[in-house]
Assembly symmetry: C2
């Protein structure tokens, strides 16, 4: 296999058969005999070319632990259903109009459909899990679902509050992103009957990878290019979201700078040129660079966790994946 492929694509190639089974299962289970609106809305999102990163992590972890099926497929589909349900509800909460370069479901249909179809997918994900007959994976994934919702609520109240510090940011990020990554890798090990050490390492890898992933996302919002992220530069600033680069800049702000952040983020009074001023402050305090270093450090932690795992081609791919996640900012 050509090492110049993106690690994500190499993994998809290695796991192609199982990914196809996951896709079949998702298509099968998103159907509803009675309510055709459900598969319409779900297909719009599931078919929109997401990278299937989370379900792939479950399949990869199970493969690494020598599992030969069939329930890793159910768990991978479960993880994707939880993710999709979360996206549907997120877009309602954020009043988003675009996702993956296409209009959001809440825009194409309405908020009601997004809320209720999201609920349906949550319920379907739990039905799927019960088919594994493994109560431990049910615990892990229901814990993850609770942590995700808790992180989203915390973000709601913390987002526009300048008192939000790096500790709170990390809790939000663990909730909104890392909880599902770590559950995805952990259940792959659990279903394979791996040792507790291996399961712990898989959890730690997913946790650190998810945190790195989200920090990169938040950093690219201030320095990425629109084509790479599908978002516009400064979306988080305009939406008054307190992410790591700004949290670090607020901590270093003088009185005048603090006034700027209070006006633009806390009060939401933004004028022409404010985004440029924000970027100037982030650069002046070196917080974009510091945020980048944090992301790289979490990617290193993810790779360190892999050291606890047996040597395996999947392990190499997971290591490369950790590098790839931070490559966009390196």
């Amino acid at each position: 296999m050509d090492a110049s492929y993106k690690p994500h694509d190499r993994m998809a190639e290695l796991l192609a058969d199982e990914l196809a089974q996951v896709n079949d299962l998702i298509r099968d289970r998103m159907a509803s005999e009675h309510a055709p609106r459900i598969p319409e809305v779900t297909a719009h999102l599931v078919g929109a070319g997401g990278k299937r990163l989370r379900p792939m992590l479950t399949l990869a972890a199970a493969r690494l632990c020598g599992y030969d099926g069939p329930y890793h497929v159910h768990l991978a589909a479960t993880v994707e259903f939880i993710h999709t349900a979360t996206l549907l509800h997120d877009d309602v909460v954020d009043e988003s109009k675009q996702r993956r370069g296409r209009p959001t479901a809440n825009l194409l249909w309405d908020n009601k459909s997004s809320v209720l179809v999201g609920d349906y997918l949550f319920a379907r994900s739990f039905q799927l899990m019960t088919e594994t007959d493994n109560i431990r994976v049910l615990r892990i994934l229901s814990n993850a679902a609770a942590t995700i919702a808790e992180g989203e609520v915390l973000q709601l109240t913390a987002a526009q509050d300048l008192a939000t510090d790096e500790g709170i940011y990390l809790k939000v990020v663990r909730g909104k992103t890392a909880a599902l990554f770590s559950a995805a890798t952990e259940v792959g090990g659990v279903i394979a009957g791996a040792s507790e050490d291996v399961i712990k390492a898989l959890f730690d890898y997913g946790d650190a990878l998810g945190i790195a992933f989200q920090i990169v996302d938040d950093l690219l919002d201030y320095q990425g290019v629109s084509a790479a992220t599908g978002k516009n530069i400064g979306d988080d600033f305009r939406e008054r979201k307190l992410t790591l680069p700004v949290i670090k800049a607020v901590a270093l702000a003088n009185t005048e700078e603090r006034g700027f952040w209070e006006r633009t983020i806390e009060k939401g009074i933004q004028n022409d040129g404010d985004l440029e001023t924000a970027l100037t402050l982030l650069n002046a305090h070196g917080t974009l660079e510091a945020t980048k270093q944090d992301a790289l450090s979490w990617a290193d932690r993810a790779k360190a966790a892999l050291e606890q795992l047996p040597d395996h081609e999947v392990r190499t791919m997971l290591r490369d994946l950790a590098d790839y996640v931070v490559e966009r900012i390196s």
Copy 2:
């Protein structure tokens, strides 16, 4: 015990210790270390004096089957969490401003909080279930959650469509109301290790009771008094909800009457006096009376299911409860 008590109150007295344990567990599990918004929103709803009818059904079914704990308490709390999550999301979908005589959470906080706190309670309910270590109750309750969401989506698309017939209405009612009633009674039997015949009878009782309950609710919307229901007469008409009295009237409508329903329900063009005209049509075709007979018939089915169960003071209370549900319209 004085038989003149309402059956609901007699049951609450008999199950007082376990209901107190359910309330403690609910209070304990609705907490969130990180996001104080969660218990605020939940307490507003959970504390609003709901009748705890659904969790009581679980406790009653377990008691009837001779179970002596402790997991029926977890299941009863699970059922109440699912119910509460559903109410939070319903009020967002329906844009409701009042619930149980108090302002709704979406009005007091915002839609975002209601969506996300509902998600949190769903996840918490699944966490609670896993503590029972009983995969069958997990299946029953995740199936119920999927049926609820499916019923809500179906209602969304069927509500303003005059093609909605009694068959579709029954599917919606099974989803939005009866699925949780029947799951509540069924899991009480399952956790107690009851025979399949008994479990089936408990399911049938909950299903029929839930359907009777919802038909009564829909009927009272046209003929109740505001104080008894906490709703105003004609709310469903104004919200263009096709419920059983109207579905029956549409089926019997002449051309002119059909035009009236098309304008008021399908197109949503309503003028002064339209509610009075609607009531006149419902009475002219006898559909309020026919709807009442349907409710009574479902209450009879609920009581018939009880015949399969062992003689027990709880069985008598469940029979009285079925009578009580339809008493408001008798």
